[in-house]
Chain length 477, copies 4
Amino acid sequence: MPIRTGQQYIDRIDALNTYISLDGEIVTGKVSEHPAFKGVMQSQAKLFDLQHQQELLETMTYESPTSKERVGMSFLQVITPEDLVKRRYAAQEWALSSHGFMGRSPDYMNTTLMALASASDFLKDKPNCFPEHLLQFYDDAREHDLTMTHTFIEPQVNRKRYYIEDEEVTIAAKIVGKTSKGLVIKGARLLATQGGITDELLVLSTNGYDEWKAFGFSIPSNTAGLKFLCRQSFVGGDSTFDHPLSARFEEMDAIVVFDDVIVPWERVFYYENVDVANHFMNVSGFQAYTLHQVLSRQIAKTEFVLGVVQSIIDTIHIGDYQHVQQKVVDIIVTLETMKALLLKSEIEAQRDQFGFVRPDLATLQVAIQIFPKVYPTFTEIIQLLGASGLMSIPSAQAFAKDEGDLAHYLQSFQDGGEERVQKFRLAWDLTMSSFGTRQTLYERFFFGDPIRLSSILYKSYDRGHLVKRVEDFLNRD
Amino acid sequence: MPIRTGQQYIDRIDALNTYISLDGEIVTGKVSEHPAFKGVMQSQAKLFDLQHQQELLETMTYESPTSKERVGMSFLQVITPEDLVKRRYAAQEWALSSHGFMGRSPDYMNTTLMALASASDFLKDKPNCFPEHLLQFYDDAREHDLTMTHTFIEPQVNRKRYYIEDEEVTIAAKIVGKTSKGLVIKGARLLATQGGITDELLVLSTNGYDEWKAFGFSIPSNTAGLKFLCRQSFVGGDSTFDHPLSARFEEMDAIVVFDDVIVPWERVFYYENVDVANHFMNVSGFQAYTLHQVLSRQIAKTEFVLGVVQSIIDTIHIGDYQHVQQKVVDIIVTLETMKALLLKSEIEAQRDQFGFVRPDLATLQVAIQIFPKVYPTFTEIIQLLGASGLMSIPSAQAFAKDEGDLAHYLQSFQDGGEERVQKFRLAWDLTMSSFGTRQTLYERFFFGDPIRLSSILYKSYDRGHLVKRVEDFLNRD
Amino acid sequence: MPIRTGQQYIDRIDALNTYISLDGEIVTGKVSEHPAFKGVMQSQAKLFDLQHQQELLETMTYESPTSKERVGMSFLQVITPEDLVKRRYAAQEWALSSHGFMGRSPDYMNTTLMALASASDFLKDKPNCFPEHLLQFYDDAREHDLTMTHTFIEPQVNRKRYYIEDEEVTIAAKIVGKTSKGLVIKGARLLATQGGITDELLVLSTNGYDEWKAFGFSIPSNTAGLKFLCRQSFVGGDSTFDHPLSARFEEMDAIVVFDDVIVPWERVFYYENVDVANHFMNVSGFQAYTLHQVLSRQIAKTEFVLGVVQSIIDTIHIGDYQHVQQKVVDIIVTLETMKALLLKSEIEAQRDQFGFVRPDLATLQVAIQIFPKVYPTFTEIIQLLGASGLMSIPSAQAFAKDEGDLAHYLQSFQDGGEERVQKFRLAWDLTMSSFGTRQTLYERFFFGDPIRLSSILYKSYDRGHLVKRVEDFLNRD
Amino acid sequence: MPIRTGQQYIDRIDALNTYISLDGEIVTGKVSEHPAFKGVMQSQAKLFDLQHQQELLETMTYESPTSKERVGMSFLQVITPEDLVKRRYAAQEWALSSHGFMGRSPDYMNTTLMALASASDFLKDKPNCFPEHLLQFYDDAREHDLTMTHTFIEPQVNRKRYYIEDEEVTIAAKIVGKTSKGLVIKGARLLATQGGITDELLVLSTNGYDEWKAFGFSIPSNTAGLKFLCRQSFVGGDSTFDHPLSARFEEMDAIVVFDDVIVPWERVFYYENVDVANHFMNVSGFQAYTLHQVLSRQIAKTEFVLGVVQSIIDTIHIGDYQHVQQKVVDIIVTLETMKALLLKSEIEAQRDQFGFVRPDLATLQVAIQIFPKVYPTFTEIIQLLGASGLMSIPSAQAFAKDEGDLAHYLQSFQDGGEERVQKFRLAWDLTMSSFGTRQTLYERFFFGDPIRLSSILYKSYDRGHLVKRVEDFLNRD
């Protein structure tokens, strides 16, 4: 049966024996049992299991056009406006399961792949392009319920404008050879979230100024020569009392090194075609479809934050202050705004050149302006409301051995000491632990450099008619 | 024919001879020819004329349920969701005509009256309440295409919390007597926009702590004892080159004084019923329906601002700067957000207790949080982009007598001196003239004190399920 | 006697018959009696008279090194740190007299000239440079108590980076010829504040990419071919009740056109020396000395704003609200910060290469970052506190003919209607009249484009030792 | 010899065997070797050692008026303005040593005690007050170079206004008995920074509504019944590559529980005197003197942040972007502002009622408004500049076992991979580790609730003369 269970997901990843390096150690044994990965893999497994819940079957799956079996809704191509709504419901369900903390829940990458596959016609008859490979991979991924990660950016050697890497030194991954088996890739790319715990790694170069950096392909995570070099883990520990979020949702980010990796030809979507590399993503519905999914995730996250904030207000009884009310209202405004933009993107959806229905891109580009600026303010709000409560956070162990002092002296208006500290630890893990701050950073840059996103919107947003309207006004009478 | 023409509107107002005091002079003669009023009355007349344009007839009017003649769409009661859309289209058309600068275009007050009339059942069988008077007045207004202003607030003697006026001194208007003819009202109310140039004055007390301040009624502007005391006029002059906005759209604000005014019983909707006075507005669809109209106006205004900003950018050629792009994007985000919230309010409309369909109030309450904060930033954006251009603004007369210096030395990348100065004068009138700054103040407080609006939203917005969601999360495993 | 009286100033300006064009009319007769100029000239005259007040003589004047008569303190060259303090006291006195609303009170330009003269050695022995002319003019200005305006910037044709004007079209003023009498200048410059009501016009080109735009000189305002083309006047009227600020302090801004103006050689400080044109201002103490004066003016203005804000709070009794208190505190923080930076600039003053003592430039560059951002917030504060009170502003005439309504119904907690409206009209004139908004724009750009000022500070501020400190920290242990 | 060495400090604390509970374990053995405390104790020891450096002896110490030996400068009472400068130099030296990360470096508490002792006359002849105990303790602390922590606030049960604890339930510490030996105290107080690693705990109740909560005393940390219950430790680990700040400066915060603690009478400064409890802190120079020290610490911290930010800019070469420059300038403005306010507080120092010289309080109250708002923006700046670099942070171990991938692929414009990651790990520890976020929270609330601090400044700041100035202006002419 195409949709997989959580256990199947875990077993498959464990079997891969992907090269993962963490703190100088190569991960051996089952990755699903490694402290840095077990929590998030369990959370991901739950997503797969949700697909099998009878009452969610219609929401989470659809009938495969090929196998006629149930496959994951995030693979659904959008033929009608209703398909968009179906996709939204499924995205919301998964987002709710992890409260929006997993930026690389499988639907994000499934959506990416669906978007590219739906635009595969663009590759047709172009030099060094293989739309059939892309379509085949899309089918495989859907029918095997594969998980993917990706790397779209190059190492941050030099962020000066117009920096072009010297040919002599290879840092960013590039084509260094071609053999009968496939492309040979050498170099590094950033920053694969969930790197090492997915079946596949999807790689698309987006600024292919040079032929040797113009490529698109996907390879299994355990391909020879492929290495995932991890940052320090932000799992605080096993205890879900102490680390309610990081114990469950810490996704890890990895630098990906290609050490003369051979990409089999049947997995190459295009190569050495600068024009295609520069335009394929933009011509495809990648932005529109993924932002549509992203917004559902961000909405779930905002709802969770609002719940946390209100819990804190209730437990220490500060809801009568005007400045407290204003802070809550600011979150409400963000929440309703994003919900409204999501609806608008669907209402204003249009059929694209490939025959599929896309949500309105301008609306979604506006939406993606908001969260990177607003999400960091949630930390500010929680710190200003939580105050010393965010520092009065003894651990589960402390409570376990407590003889009454903590339970008594840390009580609040509404809760006993332990219940109250549990809420504050959640607020702390959300905004102040290494996990929480990584979330903030992640949301700041989720869809790319905010300044670049602004510039794109500035250039693409249609407003000539408004300038005309002003001119007509000046010339009337 | 029920819908009136612009000329009919003007003639009717001129005929009223309403008591209007301005700079110590009582306005005599035709008010439509007075420098402080003629521009805005011409603009208002255009709105009436629009209703008669053949191609807009379906948009701007509908068939009266009583007279079967065409009446103004802003009077339409909302039986179906489609009625909301119709109302939106009409509101947009009028908003476009004045680019959102007329906060008291007749549809605002028509909508108010429609909302109250639709909730007239609330008054049924309550002491001192006359729902039949309200319904009759609604019919009259619709069939005669009356214009109204209103005053909902009391003089700002003391803004301390819980201030209650001393009984001895009458400042805020109150009931001082009852005769066979009607209620006797004495005192002042603030701040009637368009006061003096409408047919009627609608008065609803909203915080009727005391019986003598609990009333709702409407009276003709020329009722004996009723005085409109105007602030200084902000019409800069006749020239639409020099004062493109104030010459057309300056609405005037007036203090309303009731000098023992007798309100005929047939125009009294309720009196001396504190409970009704305190709840009628909130129980009715007043907020939901008027905010739905207001949003259309604010959207048109934002579009105009965006057009002006882009015109300036184009004329002095500064669109390549990143900080300039960011400023434009900020306006785009506001615009799309408000459009999205307006759509959402319609999609989530629900039938109310009186059988009518209301747009979603929470969504609209969120929307009204945005403009008071964002509109003032438009001034900042325009000042930062316009810079010295906003001070290099010779008048039309200066250009008329110019021998070439101004035309030459004030040219820009795109325009000759006069065209360029015309654009900057528009930007200046929009944000820096007395008219422009009054607009900013008006938008800050359009729907009431922003702090109070926040508090209302804090209290009414449903989020118990989100607190529950957080608790479930903490208790899982 | 060198220091002049107000009357002497007025008589001298009247006698010049400078070419001033306003609304297409050439000003004829006494400019001091023209509605657009009389208020500010009266205010300026008061500054001159202050110099003659016996108790201020020591503060406002010093003994001329040449004539041994009393001359204006703003001409004082800074030999000792105490001289800086003397200069500050004098600047504060004048700033207080106009509450900081006159950006071109004579001390600003006097300071400019003093700074240039003190650096005249820089011009010595350089091609086409005449330090002796500069010194002579400084002496003349001091001994005759001359007033000056200046124009440092070019018309805003195109603000694109690296825009260089086409040689064919003359817009920005440039050298078009040289005769035995002097340089011939043609073209325009922006934006002479007080243009037309000063004795002299000082012109320094600051970005002399081309020889023909590299010059520095001063000429009398009535030089043949020199024209001051004014923007619309922002004097609201004569009444100081209605227009307490614009009736007194509106300085006017003028485009300056040079119509083949001959600048006599003895008034040329340098010409056709690109290197000198590019560096003289920066090498001189211009920035340090003028910013030192500017800060005193901005402090007086901030104090006035704080007084106005508190008056409004008191009159409507809103000082108990936390958000009101926060707004006042924000102004207090600005005020104390600027006072502190002014002190620091004096304490850290150092002797420059020409032997004079300069206040610390980095400190003053920091100070000038603050006001352009904070001043506009004063408008926001006043609007949020004043609310409808800023629209309930009948004119003096209205009160004159009032039969009690206005006095009664507009009373506040503390004041009768007229006293209260007087305060709100002041607040309105400060922030919402055309005069007030021009003040805001003026402060935003007072010392140049804020972005450019930031960039200069970024480049000049010494922080290598702090980077070193971090590196040492990383390498310790 | 009164000033102690670092080793003496460590030995003394180790010998105390204070009751410290952490994660449910009671700390046994030497606290100076416990992972949660050893780093900060080493850093603290360095401060003591600094006092013994020959070249710093004059800066860091002065001659004791009693023992005639060298004692710590932070104990110096301020007889002359020069004494303030001496105190500043010493505070700066210690602040530099820990770059401002230790909020409870001993000088803070020494200053507190000095301030109270200098105001001991206030206690004279008041009921239940013992100024002689206070003076004796001040002498003891100075002559033994004691370290202290303190707890000034009560548990956050309920932050509703006017909440008064029920008498039945003891949560906040209070007097529950009096014996011949001393006061008996029961209950908890928050939040002792460095709790457990100081010699003494100073306790002052600040809102003594009730007699049983009105007290001031100091007791040794190892007093019977006194418990320090710690939050989770934020020491990330031993490696100063991985955790350059938390390995050195994590101070720990502890809830303090009094389990029927007997406070010896000779250590009681006052008790059961509500009036004294409410006013002693404010009457004393506590605020002025401690803020004077705090500012030196915050300045050192800001300098460190500026150094870190510039290091990152340099290493990835982004200093040419205007938005990057603006962010640096914002930090520069903060830094110079605080330096200026510190100077101003000294220049405007005045002699108090007890005969000592106090820095200007209003100036310092303004200063303390700034950091709580600005410090959190440092995180934003670092995240926006650091971007993905803040996630590409392998550990020291990873580098130790790296075979060249990390060093190569993580290189930057300026640095090799390891050097670059070291800088980014510092930036991360500064702003994104649990240590870094705790620092942010700490600075937000360092001197109390910012809203309360605003309110105090609003009420105390003298501005009547400015209101008067406005009134005079309105009444002139």
